[in-house]
Each structure stands twice: as structure tokens, then as C-alpha cells.
């Protein structure tokens, strides 16, 4: 089992969700987050006063998938979330030791 964590641009959420649903990913957790990478934020100007906004709004998507599906999920997220501009985001994949569905008590791959 793998946990795929993707940081994406907020307006790309629908495309990413549709692409993941199409390959059989049935659930996801989405969190509104702020951060920066190489983009280093942007500058806003108010009546001549300049403010550097370091932390930009992003969405953090978490999906738990079987190991076989992980590469495919990473592929479709990459395609759906990509604009080609700086700030498109990142994807991290980590192993999951154990998983459990609270309602039924099912574990590991049955719980995904």
C-alpha cells in the first residue's frame, strides 16, 4: 500500500479528482494549505507599499492506494495538475504500514 500526497494548484482539483476516479481511486482527502517552493511567492502592491507574499495557497491531496495502482495514480495526477508554469506542485509517495476501515474493522488492502 502507498500513500500518495500531492500538492497542487487549487483550481486543478476537479481535473485531478476526475482523472483519479477514472483509474479507480475511490476516495481522497483534500486540505487547504499554504506554502512555497522555487516559486518563492509573489509581490503585491497596495498604494505604493510592496508586500512579498511567501506562502501561496495550495491544496494537499492524500490518497491511499494499492502498490500496483500507485504509479498509475502519480501519472494521472501529474498530467491533470500540470500547467507548465512554475508552482504546479509536487507529489510524494510513501509506504503505508497498516490500514483499517473504522466502520467494519477491515484491514490493509480490504480497507482501501
Amino acid at each position: 500500500m502507498k500513500l500518495v500526497v500531492a500538492i497542487i494548484k487549487p483550481f486543478k482539483l476537479d481535473e485531478v479528482r476526475q482523472a483519479l476516479t477514472a483509474i479507480g481511486v475511490h476516495g481522497m482527502t483534500v486540505t487547504e494549505v499554504k506554502g512555497y517552493g522555487r516559486q518563492k511567492g509573489h509581490t503585491e502592491i497596495y498604494r505604493g507599499a510592496e508586500y512579498v507574499v511567501n506562502f501561496l495557497p495550495k491544496l494537499r491531496i492524500e490518497i491511499a492506494v494499492s502498490s500496483e495502482l500507485a504509479d498509475k495514480a502519480v501519472d494521472v495526477i501529474t498530467q491533470a495538475a500540470r500547467t507548465g508554469q512554475i508552482g504546479d506542485g509536487k507529489i510524494f509517495v510513501t509506504p503505508i504500514d497498516h490500514a483499517l476501515r473504522i466502520r467494519t474493522g477491515e484491514t490493509d488492502s480490504d480497507a482501501l
Binding site: 502592491i45 497596495y46 498604494r47 508586500y51 507574499v53
Partner: protein
């Protein structure tokens, strides 16, 4: 022919019956008081429009430009101004400003509206009830006091603000209103200020500048992100100010008259020209016309046309709006940076500079055909000198009294919140409430 004569006979009969009926119902009132229904209706509407300029107009305009933790505190300042100044205006403000024509101050004959009857009129507005004239002028006092608060937003203690507002109203606004509008020495001298370039905008702007200097800069000014919380609120507030300004400038004709319409037309055009100018400067120098810039330009245009509206032709509104955009942009960006003062919401940059510019431009563009006074362009350079004098008096008076008042209030109550309270936000520290 027969049809025509029948019509004429019927019209004559109707007219005579109407005259007879009118004379029975209102035998003497209309002749003695001269109260006019159209003027009264328009001035009721104008009064409501100007009151709307403070709440919600100014409250939204200002609170949209502060940080989220100070939104309620900023709105509270506008709200408190309405409540306090209204009571003080009825108590003594109106009487001292608009009753009696001494050179320095009026009288207390109308304190708490003593002896005011329903059909009384003020000599300054003979076709509307005196109570309505009093209410209309009250809305000006309210917004002027509320305007000053923008310069010290984000850091002034609420209790200090209340004390300061009471003093500022008593010692800056009331005398100035009398000098310029109530038959005081600036009025007899012939200073032109149709709707408050001196009394409202310059006095508030200078008061704000002095207050900003005395209070000191906000914590984090120039180093931390003090960006506005929600400019969409400021845009809505601007819209309400803009519409309200029709009552502000149009109502200052004190009648439902062609002059009111001319004033409103010039007002609207100045707002548009100001917004376009400020946006264009940003577009050319910073590659993007900001929303804050366009609304700032609109308010600058409105403030600048205020003293001149009612004296100039509508197309002058465009010229004055463009000049307002240029001057106020320069004041809010270059001037403020050069002298390094923290006028939080640019009360001086927009209202002070706008009020000053507009008062002088009234002396340039005043046309006899609109307001009965000629300016520089019509061959009367003397008027411009008189306008300069009005500006100088207002600058000195508002600046000096504001300074003294702040020192006085500061001796009793700390003017500023503590550093920790400032960082926490004034909503929580002053009012125990916050936006989530």
C-alpha cells in the same frame, strides 16, 4: 374650437377649485415659512444618502483595507462616530455652527433644539424645515469625525478614540463649519466650499496626518505584510460612498434644483476621471491597474470635486478628477514614503490632498453661470487668493488643535494599545469579538 373652449373652461374651473381648496387647507403656512415639498423630499433623501456614507459606506471602505484582526474595531469607529456625534450635534453642535452669525462661533440658542417648531427654517435653507437642515448637517459632522480614524487604524485604543472624537468634533469641526458655512469669518470673506473640501476633507485629512505622526507607525510597518484583508469590502464601501456623495454634493444645493443636478453631474464625472487616472498611472508604471488603486482614485475624485461642485460646470468635473488622481496618487505613494509617516488608510493622501486641491481648483474653475461666482478662468484671480486663505486657516487650525487634543487625551488614557494587543488585533483586545 368648441372642444378647445370646453377644455379651457374645465381647466379654469379645476384651477379655481384647486386654488380655493389650497387656500382653505393651508391658508398661511406656505407663505410664511416658504417650506417647499420638493426641496424637503430631496433633502430627506440626501440626508439618508449621506448617513449611508458612514455606515455602511465608510465602515466597509475602511475595514476592507485593514487586516482581518482589526476589521470589527475599524467598523466600530464609524459606528461610534454616528452615535456620539449625533447626540453632540443636537446638544450643541448645530446651534454653535449654524445658529447666529458671529465671526468665530454661533450661539447656544438652539441647544438641544430648544424652541424649534415644525415649520421653522434656518436662514441658510429657507425652503426646508430647520430640523431637516439640522439633520443633514449632522451627517456631515459624523462622516468627518469618522474619516479621521482611518489614519490611525490598527493601533488606537477605543477609549482614546472616543475622547479624541468628542474633542475633535467640539474644537475642530464645529468652529470650521461655522466659519465656512454658518456665517463665520471665512464665509463673509467669500471662501467657496460647496460641500466640504475644507470643513470635511482637508480638516479630516490634516487631523489624520497629525494623528498618524503623534501615534507613531504601526508595528511591522515597512517590514511585515500589512496587506488589506478583503478589498471586495472596500469596493462595496466605495460604491456606497460614491452613491452617497450624490446626496453629499447634490444636497449641498439645499434644494431640488438645477444646481443640485449640476453638482451631482460634476461629482460623478470627477469620480470616474479619478478612477481612470489612478488606474492608468498604475498600469503604466507598475504594469497592472489595481482594484485598490481604482477605488482610491474614485474617492480622490469625489473628495476633490466636493468644494468645487455647485460652482463649476459639469465638464470641469473631469478635469478636476484627473488632477485629483495625479495629486492623490503622488501623495499616497511618493510623499508618504519620503516623509515616512504611517497614515494607515491614506486619509491625508486622499482626503487632505483632495480637499486642498479641490478648494483651490474651485477658485480656478468657478463659473458665474452655475454658482454665481467667477474664478480665475473668468478673470477673477482674487477668488484663488481667498481659497488659499481658506486652505491655510483650515490646515493650521485642524493641525494645531488635533495635536493639542491628542496630547491632552494622552495625558489621561494611553492613545495606543499595547504592543501585544496590537499584534493580537484590536477586535479581540478592544471589543472581545473577532471574525473567524
Amino acid at each position: 374650437m368648441g372642444v378647445l373652449s370646453r377644455h379651457a373652461a374645465r381647466a379654469a374651473a379645476t384651477f379655481s377649485i384647486a386654488t380655493l381648496f389650497a387656500s382653505l387647507v393651508t391658508p398661511a403656512l406656505a407663505e410664511t415659512s416658504g417650506i417647499n415639498a420638493a426641496d424637503t423630499a430631496w433633502m430627506i433623501a440626501a440626508t439618508a444618502l449621506v448617513l449611508m456614507m458612514t455606515i455602511p459606506g465608510l465602515a466597509l471602505f475602511y475595514s476592507g483595507m485593514v487586516r482581518k484582526k482589526n476589521v470589527l474595531a475599524t467598523m466600530a469607529q464609524s459606528l461610534a462616530a454616528v452615535a456620539i456625534i449625533s447626540v453632540l450635534w443636537v446638544a450643541f453642535g448645530y446651534s454653535l455652527a449654524f445658529v447666529g452669525d458671529g465671526p468665530w462661533l454661533g450661539t447656544l440658542d438652539r441647544w438641544f433644539l430648544a424652541g424649534m417648531k415644525m415649520d421653522d427654517v434656518n436662514p441658510a435653507a429657507k425652503t426646508i424645515p430647520e430640523a431637516l437642515f439640522m439633520l443633514y448637517q449632522m451627517t456631515f459632522a459624523i462622516i468627518t469625525v469618522a474619516l479621521v480614524a482611518g489614519a490611525v487604524a490598527d493601533r488606537m485604543r477605543f477609549s482614546a478614540y472616543l475622547l479624541f472624537s468628542v474633542g475633535w468634533f467640539m474644537f475642530v469641526y464645529v468652529p470650521l463649519a461655522h466659519w465656512v458655512w454658518g456665517g463665520g469669518f471665512l464665509a463673509t470673506m467669500g471662501v467657496l466650499d460647496f460641500a466640504g473640501g475644507l470643513v470635511v476633507h482637508l480638516s479630516a485629512g490634516v487631523g489624520g496626518l497629525v494623528a498618524a505622526k503623534v501615534m507613531g507607525r504601526r508595528h511591522g510597518y515597512g517590514t511585515e505584510n500589512l496587506a488589506p484583508f478583503d478589498l471586495s469590502l472596500a469596493v462595496i464601501g466605495t460604491g456606497m460612498l460614491w452613491v452617497g456623495w450624490f446626496g453629499f454634493n447634490g444636497g449641498s444645493a439645499l434644494s431640488a434644483s438645477p444646481r443640485a443636478v449640476m453638482a451631482i453631474t460634476a461629482t460623478h464625472l470627477a469620480a470616474c476621471a479619478g478612477a481612470l487616472t489612478w488606474g492608468a498611472i498604475e498600469w503604466s508604471t507598475r504594469r497592472k491597474p489595481s482594484v485598490l488603486g481604482m477605488i482610491s482614485g474614485a474617492v480622490a475624485g469625489l473628495g476633490t470635486i466636493t468644494p468645487a461642485s455647485g460652482f463649476v460646470a459639469p465638464w470641469h468635473g473631469i478635469v478636476i478628477g484627473i488632477i485629483a488622481g495625479l495629486f492623490c496618487f503622488w501623495a499616497c505613494t511618493s510623499l508618504k514614503q519620503r516623509f515616512n509617516y504611517d497614515d494607515s488608510l491614506d486619509v491625508f493622501g486622499v482626503h487632505g490632498v483632495g480637499g486642498m486641491t479641490g478648494t483651490l481648483l474651485a477658485g480656478v474653475f468657478a463659473t458665474t453661470a452655475i454658482g454665481g461666482t467667477s474664478g480665475l478662468l473668468e478673470g477673477n484671480p482674487q477668488q484663488l487668493l481667498i481659497q488659499f486663505y481658506g486652505v491655510a486657516v483650515t490646515l493650521l487650525w485642524s493641525g494645531a488643535i488635533t495635536f493639542v487634543l491628542l496630547k491632552l487625551v494622552g495625558a489621561f488614557v494611553p492613545l495606543r494599545v499595547s504592543l501585544q494587543q496590537e499584534m493580537e488585533g484590536l477586535d479581540i483586545s478592544q471589543h472581545g469579538e473577532a471574525l473567524q
